[in-house]
């Protein structure tokens, strides 16, 4: 296992995009952790100053129509976005890895069924599926996480399945079978650790798209109304876009920023870890 980390670390030192992505992400994580200390106001508190322009008074980025401080909302909104993004990407990564690896390694009927499911998922527009489910089951944060996670695993599964198919032919897997190792152990000890890198890269990209999905849901009014989120801010600010542009704009910029960070990391990982792009010799 330690060599997985050492590979990640060596990838970090080679790839500049990956490195800067990671540094920026670290900053965001610090913001998330110390949100309480950084944000000057309580984002849920409805203040007296309504729709204050940015820079006026103590409101660095202005306030909303309800008098909430935009800067504090963005700081706190990072918690929502990041946790939804990461948790749902993790759900989809874990499910995708397990199902894809099992399908590719064990083959048989299971594989046929899974391949069909993957194909169906990749064909239907998942966003509408998510929309319907959220509309039906309510839009708490947990629901949103689960729904995004449970609908986005097929791309990971497809990737892992291809990896499993090729790793299965490698001699070290055959030698493990010849030693009497059980199927499940081979799956977890040989197939997954050796084939997970593309999935890791894909999952990182998945965080970005999960954040976007959440924002879109909130924008359509299907976000969790009880927490501050960037999508929600855009939704709320939409009607004041001519009179108070800052409400939506800064939230949009924040989304863009974090999505770019995750794309940088995902792309960097892809480049550094993908065997296809590695020099042949």
């Amino acid at each position: 296992m330690s060599s997985i980390f050492s590979r990640l670390i060596s990838a970090l030192s080679i790839n500049r995009r990956l490195r800067s992505g990671c540094i920026l992400l670290l900053c965001v994580v610090l913001v998330v952790i110390f949100a309480g200390a950084i944000a000057p106001y309580d984002p849920y508190k409805l203040g007296d100053d309504l729709m204050v322009r940015p820079g006026v008074g103590n409101h660095f980025l202005g306030t909303t129509a309800m008098g909430q401080d935009v800067f504090s909302m963005i700081i706190y909104g990072s918690r929502t976005s990041l946790s939804i993004g990461i948790v749902s990407a993790l759900i989809s990564g874990v499910i995708g890895t397990l199902i894809g690896a099992a399908a590719g390694y064990f083959r048989g009927k299971f594989d046929i069924v899974i391949s069909e499911i993957i194909n169906i998922f990749l064909m239907i527009p998942t966003f509408f599926l998510i929309l319907i489910i959220v509309a039906l089951f309510g839009s708490s944060m947990l629901n949103v996480m689960l729904v995004i996670g449970l609908t986005s695993w097929p791309s990971n599964a497809r990737m892992m399945r291809v990896q499993a198919l090729s790793i299965k032919e490698r001699t070290f897997v055959k030698s493990a079978v010849a030693m009497g190792e059980s199927g499940w152990r081979i799956l977890f000890k040989y197939i997954i650790p050796n084939g997970i890198f593309p999935v890791v890269a894909n999952t990182t990209m998945g965080v970005a798209s999960a954040i976007l999905t959440e924002a879109s849901l909130s924008f359509l009014g299907l976000g969790d109304p009880n927490v501050v989120s960037w999508g929600q801010m855009i939704f709320d600010g939409k009607q004041y876009i001519t009179s108070a542009w800052w409400i939506s704009t800064f939230a949009g910029l924040a989304i863009m920023f974090i999505v770019i960070i995750f794309y940088m990391i995902g792309d960097g990982l892809n480049e550094a870890l993908n065997p296809k792009l590695r020099r042949i010799r």
């Binding site: 030698s175 493990a176 010849a178 030693m179 050796n194």
Partner: protein
């Protein structure tokens, strides 16, 4: 020597892989890569059977089938009279203690994420050899030392990519030996070892074979090694055995034209060696679309018209020396 009992018996074993073709539309009908195409063979306990043959003739495929890594297309494999499929169904783990292998490619035999220590100790743990991990570690250490990998404790801590080809090859052999199998098929186990290390490793294999009665199938391209270790030799060509017999019969008096050519090409470093090299010409052989004649016919210097029509059946060419070639069928008549 102990009394010979039949340990492994292989009957009409075949492995055909479906062939990928460019235009499936225009040439219907399935084509096959006939990697192994009907092999009959026995290995007795306490005996080393050498397998030689051209690169790509199906030796490794045969090995993979024998240890249950691949399903034969047809044919049966019996260990001590019991079908290998039954053995695997009843006790999968137990089967892998009967039949072990050493793979051809040592660089890919070990998972890159583990250290040599855990790679060696894992099979021991799986098969409950040694009571605790300290004892297993001792077993591994002494095995490594025996294989000339010194300091042994240092090797346990290394990753596979930090070792040389020969070192990995030795570790691969040692790992299989630790399980004390009843049958071993070793696929070019010493190709990356120099002559002096080779001797030690071969000695280890032979001790196992002679003292514990393990049957060994020894695949190699190095015929002088085959001569040194094996009791019997089988010569393969495009998925079939063309000649079998006792080692010295085959090496000193080869019958099949392919064996003759093969042996004449092995020279020694001895400058006085005067053997004339038989060149064989022709297209590289392919296991796709073989037959109906003798597979070797197109490259055979002694081929006659007859050879293109049918595959020669097995003919006795001496006590326990069998050959599939028309030349000897005619002689016998």
């Amino acid at each position: 020597m102990t009394e010979l009992t039949t340990l492994l018996e292989v009957k009409n074993l075949k492995k055909w892989y479906p062939c990928r073709r460019k235009n499936r539309l225009f040439s219907p009908g399935k084509e096959w890569v006939k990697a192994v195409d009907g092999i009959d063979l026995t290995v007795n306990s306490g005996e080393v059977v050498g397998i030689i043959g051209e690169s790509g003739c199906g030796k490794s495929t045969l090995a993979r089938m024998l240890i249950g890594l691949e399903q034969p297309t047809t044919g049966e494999i019996r260990y001590n009279g019991r079908l290998s499929t039954d053995l695997i169904r009843d006790d999968k783990k137990g089967f892998h203690r009967i039949a072990q292998t050493v793979f051809q490619n040592p660089f890919d035999t070990f998972t890159p994420n583990d250290r040599i220590g855990s790679l060696l100790m894992r099979p021991l743990k799986m098969h409950n050899i040694g009571s605790d991990s300290a004892e297993r570690r001792e077993l591994c250490l002494s095995a490594l030392e025996e294989g000339g990998l010194i300091p042994a404790a240092d090797f346990l801590n290394r990753y596979p990519h930090e070792l040389s080809g020969g070192q990995l090859q030795r570790i691969s052999i040692l790992r299989s030996l630790l399980l004390n199998p009843a049958f071993m098929v070793v696929d070019e186990p010493i190709s990356m070892l120099d002559v002096s290390v080779r001797a030690d490793i071969l000695a280890m294999l032979l001790v196992l074979c002679r003292q514990k009665g393990t049957g060994i199938m020894f695949i190699s391209h190095d015929i002088s090694v085959i001569r040194y270790v094996s009791d019997r030799v089988a010569v393969m060509y495009l998925g079939r055995i063309v000649e079998t017999g006792r080692t010295d019969d085959i090496i000193l008096h080869p019958r099949h034209p392919y064996t003759e050519a093969l042996l004449s090409n092995c020279s020694t470093i001895d400058p006085d060696d005067q053997t004339e090299v038989i060149r064989i010409e022709g297209e590289p052989p392919s296991p796709v679309g073989t037959g109906p004649g003798c597979f070797f016919a197109e490259r055979c210097p002694k081929a006659s018209a007859h050879c293109w029509r049918a595959y020669p059946s097995v003919t006795k060419a001496g006590e326990s020396h069998e050959v599939s070639c028309f030349i000897y069928q005619r002689e016998q008549r």
